[in-house]
């Protein structure tokens, strides 16, 4: 029996090379989680893409005496009140979305929440939207900064009836963005006012 046969395997031989897959696997896992983490972080910071507007700012008729306030926004500079006519004069977006509670699809028209928040100095903050029936929901910035989420006043070309949760309702573009399909609570019906989220 020679000293180097079997019983004393040469430690510098190819046997040790074969155990390399483990460190490689660990390195790959670390790299993958780093890339995944970076992507996740990128997903956390909302981008602000240009929206496709139906029309720009129109001239709104001055509020008539006794004309009801349709929507209120409370920001750092105080409370702004909008009549339905004023809302309709603001730059508008229009797209098709499926109302999750009615389970029906309509073409909605309305003002992007981003523009409304901009007017009140609330841009980039999470928004609290309160309904006429005292329901309230928080729309996080990630849900209205990158998406044309709107305060809708029109459905298939006419006013939104109370039976269809009007006259003002928050609408999310779940037709063009499937990732919004699972979001229900932010569709605030009978919307009446908006402020920064608590």
């Amino acid at each position: 029996m020679t000293l180097n046969s079997g019983v004393f395997p040469d430690n510098h031989g190819p046997t040790t090379r074969r155990s390399r897959p483990l460190p490689l696997l660990i390195a790959a896992a670390v790299a993958a989680s780093a890339i995944g983490g970076a992507l996740w972080w990128k997903g956390q910071t909302p981008a602000t893409p240009e929206f496709q507007y139906l029309h720009g700012q129109l001239t709104a008729p001055p509020p008539a005496t006794g004309e009801e306030t349709a929507f209120e926004i409370t920001g750092p500079s105080g409370t702004q009140r909008f009549t339905m006519a004023q809302l309709r004069a603001m730059p508008a977006v229009r797209y098709t979305a499926t109302q999750p509670q009615l389970k029906r699809t309509f073409e909605y028209t309305g003002v992007p929440l981003r523009d409304l928040a901009d007017r009140a100095g609330l841009n980039g903050q999470d928004l609290r939207i309160i309904a006429d029936d005292d329901f309230a929901s928080t729309v996080p910035k990630g849900m209205y900064m990158p998406y044309p989420t709107m305060l809708a006043y029109e459905e298939d070309g006419h006013e939104i009836s109370t039976a269809h949760k009007g006259p003002l309702m928050v609408v999310l573009p779940n037709g063009d963005h499937p990732e919004l399909k699972q979001i229900y609570a932010q569709w605030v019906w009978f919307s009446r006012s908006m402020k920064t989220a608590p």
């Binding site: 029996m1 004393f8 005292d134 039976a163």
Partner: protein, 378 residues
């Protein structure tokens, strides 16, 4: 990998259940319905309410009552009791169409009662869902425990395997070391003899030179046969012998010296043995006797019936009978440890004797000292 798979398979169902908004609902729509009817009733009771507002609140309540799609799991919720959404709607319509205030209030009360029952049933249904979630969590806990157990067992198995491999390697290494020690121990003696003979040769007389040359020749042969490091196993572990007829008397006489007295019978005594290995046995016994005593040493050949005994007797301190077996183990030495030696001689002797099928024993000699007895079969 197995643990990851297990955990994934354990987490997936509960994750799917908890992230599905259709399943993990709060029952808010049922509560919200009551709110809308209460809001309408309060406005109705307040005579100062503008008719337009009352109309709006009524429409808002109807917008929910007429839209069954708004109420998740309505079928399951209605199965929890007698209250029905359709009944709430019917009663509310009757209230809106009532002829007078008293009838209207009666129907509104009935509407509120029915809506409250429906809300209670929705809570019962929530409990059913919660129980399902709890069952999922219990399953998840079982999976987690199993995964933890599995990884524990797997790592224990791996550790034990590594330990076993290490032990195997170590024992193989130790075995090799021992064989090397035995070999070097056994090479020492013939090498010493060669050196001494070479020293003496230049100044020896012609007759002595012949004797010394025989010594040189014999020890050179011994060195050659013991230096084969490739065959350590065959020499000291699984001993392989080359059998021949050996004349015991002649073998013993070659050990005769100043302190060594040899007693052999007159007739020739032969045994079947490997002459070189048999010589090694006797060399080791003889060397021990010389080393551990200062008096004369006697080598004796005692033939018997079917056996021959080779006895090596000294007049030293003797040995403790309880210690005999220990002395045959490698590196174990008896009294007088101050003297040079590695404690390997008796080990070699015993192994080679065993290979011959011979018995080797250490006894107390009559009159003190040690008597080593090697009994060979004829």
């Amino acid at each position: 990998m197995l643990t990851v798979l297990l955990l994934m398979s354990g987490f997936t169902p509960i994750l799917r259940v908890l992230t599905d908004p259709n399943v993990s609902w709060t029952g808010f729509s049922y509560q919200g319905l009551i709110n809308k009817i209460v809001a309408y009733t309060l406005a109705d009771l307040d005579s100062a309410t503008p008719p337009a507002k009352l109309q709006r609140l009524g429409d808002q309540a109807l917008s929910s009552l007429e839209n069954a799609a708004e109420f998740p799991d309505l079928r399951e919720v209605e199965a929890e009791g007698d209250a029905r959404l359709a009944t709430v709607l019917r009663l509310f319509r009757q209230a809106l169409n009532a002829a007078d205030a008293s009838r209207r209030h009666q129907f509104l009360r009935a509407t509120l009662n029915e809506a409250a029952y429906l809300n209670t049933q929705s809570h019962d249904w929530i409990h059913v869902i919660q129980a399902a979630h709890a069952a999922q969590l219990v399953r998840l806990r079982a999976v987690l425990l199993f995964a933890a157990l599995l990884s524990g067992v797997l790592s224990a198995v791996l550790i034990l395997r590594a330990l076993r491999l290490w032990r195997q390697q170590k024992s193989a290494f130790d075995g090799q070391q021992e064989l090397l020690s035995l070999a070097s121990h056994e090479l020492r003696r013939p090498l010493q003899a060669l050196l001494i003979a070479a020293d003496l040769l230049p100044e020896a007389s012609a007759e002595e030179r012949l004797r010394l040359l025989r010594v040189v020749e014999e020890n050179a042969l011994q060195v050659a046969s013991r230096a084969d490091l490739q065959r350590l196993d065959a020499m000291y572990s699984k001993v392989e012998l080359e059998w021949e007829a050996v004349c015991v008397g002649a073998l013993l006489l070659s050990f005769a010296g100043p302190r060594t007295h040899v007693e052999v019978p007159a007739e020739e005594v032969q045994v079947s043995a490997d002459p070189r290995r048999l010589r090694q046995v006797i060399e080791n016994l003889h060397e021990n006797a010389l080393r551990y005593s200062s008096g004369p040493v006697t080598l004796r050949c005692v033939p018997g019936d079917g056996w021959v005994e080779v006895q090596v007797q000294d007049e030293g301190e003797g040995i403790d009978p309880g210690e005999v077996e220990r002395l045959f183990r490698p590196r174990e030495r008896g009294r007088g440890q101050g003297r040079p030696g590695e404690g390997l001689g008796l080990t070699v002797a015993r192994r080679l004797a065993d290979a011959h099928g011979a018995q080797l024993e250490l006894l107390g000699a009559p009159g003190g000292g040690t008597l080593a007895v090697l009994r060979l079969q004829r």
